[in-house]
């Protein structure tokens, strides 16, 4: 199995895992009980999707190791033996994660959390829609399954962007600040990396730049209803998909990976 294919799967998995983890931080802290439950349900869906991608990546890595391929990606940590979904989630270091910077941004307030979800779900919705036609049956199957879940995420987060944007003066102001803080991370979603282009050329994956127009249209429609001005061009921050992350990811991994790092192979 080519390294690019594994990287592509890890990228899809990491996006879902990291955003899922961020959302899970709201557990017990949501503004009202129903929305606490909603955001943690979304976290659960995303972590479930990540598991499906990690499991498939692990299967491919193990397969190519057994076949003695020299193209196996080096997995740091020296855990040797069989790779599993857990080794991929818990034992890779910061620079090996391939999630977009948007997904690792801190929750801060509810407005920012909602907007992050909306910007990402809009992207993921169109991505999975295309991935359903992947030439790799397992990727197509995961996309088909996940798209149903993301449809709910997109609807829920769109409604919240409108409710807050077109709400009170204070809620509108908070949405404006959230747009200001998060917009610079949206460019990366559509900037194709080498492994995405490779995956797209094999019809296994999608060139994300092809999703941009649909995404912009969706965001424009919701922003218009939310009385939020569509932002002007800004200089975009990128690098996450290549492993170049903000310090926020380190904090997430310290939390997420602590148990497996401190007590290897612990189970409950």
């Amino acid at each position: 199995m080519e390294k690019e294919c594994i990287d592509y799967l890890l990228h899809l998995a990491d996006d879902s895992l990291i955003l899922g983890h961020r959302n899970s931080e709201w557990c017990g802290h949501g503004p009202v009980l129903e929305q606490d439950i909603a955001i943690t349900n979304i976290a659960l869906d995303l972590i479930g999707q990540a598991r499906n991608f990690y499991q498939y990546a692990a299967q491919l890595i193990n397969g190519s190791q057994n076949a003695g391929s020299s193209k196996t990606p080096p997995l740091d940590g020296g855990f040797g033996g069989e790779v599993s979904e857990d080794t991929l989630a818990y034992l890779r270091d910061r620079h090996e994660f391939k999630n977009c910077l948007l997904t690792e941004q801190p929750n801060d307030d509810w407005a920012k959390t909602i907007l992050r979800q909306f910007l990402f779900s809009s992207y993921q919705y169109f991505l999975y829609e295309e991935l359903q036609g992947s030439s790799t049956p397992q990727i197509a199957a995961i996309a088909e399954k996940s798209l149903k879940e993301v449809t709910y995420h997109l609807r829920w987060s769109s409604e919240w962007v409108i409710r807050l944007g077109d709400g009170t003066k204070e809620s509108h102001q908070k949405m404006m600040s959230a747009v200001e803080e998060l917009w610079k991370y949206t460019g990366e979603l559509f900037e194709a990396t080498g492994y995405e282009l490779q995956a797209a050329s094999e019809n296994m994956g999608v060139d994300p730049s092809s999703l941009k127009t649909k995404w912009e249209q969706k965001v424009k429609n919701v922003f218009r209803e939310a009385t939020l001005p569509y932002p002007d061009k800004v200089s975009m921050k990128t690098g996450g998909k290549q492993g170049d992350h903000s310090e926020y990811l380190s904090h997430i991994l310290a939390d997420l990976q602590f148990m497996q790092r401190a007590y290897p192979n612990s189970e409950w």
Partner: protein, 166 residues
């Protein structure tokens, strides 16, 4: 006992004793998650299941409970595989399952699904499982588990779960 006389139909019937741990009135057959049963050789069985939601924590428990049930029945070699495609839909839930849900106080998924799309602020007309009124409204798109939404009845004022369309 020996398992050589067991056929597929008997397995489906037998699996009716394995319940969903989160919605205990439903068994795995009601839910429509058992997609296939393969009986290759004497004492061997493979059950193909599909998850309701990607991250549903009940799936691991359900897998274990199917395994336990089959081993108690006498199977020696049990394989449980997961198929993601075609993706599970509430259309696969049995009519008996829908009635059981209603009796339990959970509104069953509507036969004609209205809002399985990304359109905004669309509301489905959901019947209250307690007083049968259609005057209900949605409190939250997400309920106590991934498969449910939270509603409240405007007539009898009771809150209730709706097993949402998927």
């Amino acid at each position: 006992m020996t398992t050589d006389q067991i056929n597929k139909e008997a397995v489906y019937k037998y699996l009716e004793r394995v319940n969903d741990p989160e919605v205990p009135v439903l068994n795995v057959i009601d839910l429509g998650i058992v997609r296939d049963v393969i009986l290759p050789n004497e004492g061997e069985i493979e059950v193909v299941i599909t998850p309701t939601y990607s991250g549903c924590p009940a799936m691991d428990v359900i897998t274990m409970n199917i395994r336990i049930a089959l081993s108690m029945w006498g199977f020696k070699k049990i394989k449980i595989t997961q198929a993601l495609s075609p993706a599970w839909t509430t259309d696969w839930m049995s009519e008996a399952g829908k009635q059981k849900l209603k009796d339990y106080g959970i509104a069953p998924p509507t036969p004609k699904q209205q809002v399985c799309n990304e359109n905004l602020f669309a509301e489905e007309a959901i019947q209250c499982p307690h007083c049968n009124s259609w005057h209900t409204h949605r409190v939250s798109e997400f309920g106590s588990t991934a498969c449910k939404a939270l509603y409240v009845c405007d007539d009898c004022k009771e809150p209730f779960d709706y097993f949402k369309c998927h």
